[in-house]
Symmetry: C2
């Protein structure tokens, strides 16, 4: 499996709008076992995203899905910058699913 732990910073006041866009496609991405978006309780603009995919290829392919491409286009103006970007190799756990 292939995992990502990342953070991004929304433009001031835009976190809620950015979260909504990030959540649009979560249940329809082939090879995605887990995709969780979270607020940082300490910083009103920061979002954490943790992802588990069957492979890095599935993650890359997801970026070309029409719904994801459209979401990225609308998300970009709301993003002030990126923070942590950590690749992981998930071994197992609870809550890992495969979309229908």
């Amino acid at each position: 499996m292939y995992g990502l732990i990342g953070s991004l910073k929304a433009q001031a006041g835009q976190r809620e709008a950015l979260l909504a866009i990030l959540l649009e496609n979560v249940d329809t991405m082939p090879g995605c076992h887990s995709y969780v978006v979270a607020e940082d309780p300490e910083d009103p603009d920061v979002i954490w995203v943790t992802e588990v995919w069957d492979s890095a290829g599935s993650h890359r392919a997801s970026l070309a899905l029409p719904g994801v491409r459209d979401a990225i286009t609308r998300a970009k103006p709301l993003i002030a910058g990126f923070g942590q970007h950590t690749e992981t190799r998930p071994i197992g756990g609870h809550g890992l699913t495969i979309p229908a």
Copy 2:
């Protein structure tokens, strides 16, 4: 919801044994929506753990479960240290479940 993103470092050569212990209780912890353990591809001793709970209280309560207490006792000698510890407020996503 309550989330945690954390890393820990195993004693040299003990990552696999530590991962196995961390995975023992993942499907039986009340209030746990997601619990993923992963290897760091860049460091042979580092483990990443990402967790989603219905509340911080459920996370705290899990540490008192007999199976978890036993796992912690056996894990401690295999842990060299702790790294990142980030609390989050998960909003939603894919792969969030509630154990039976």
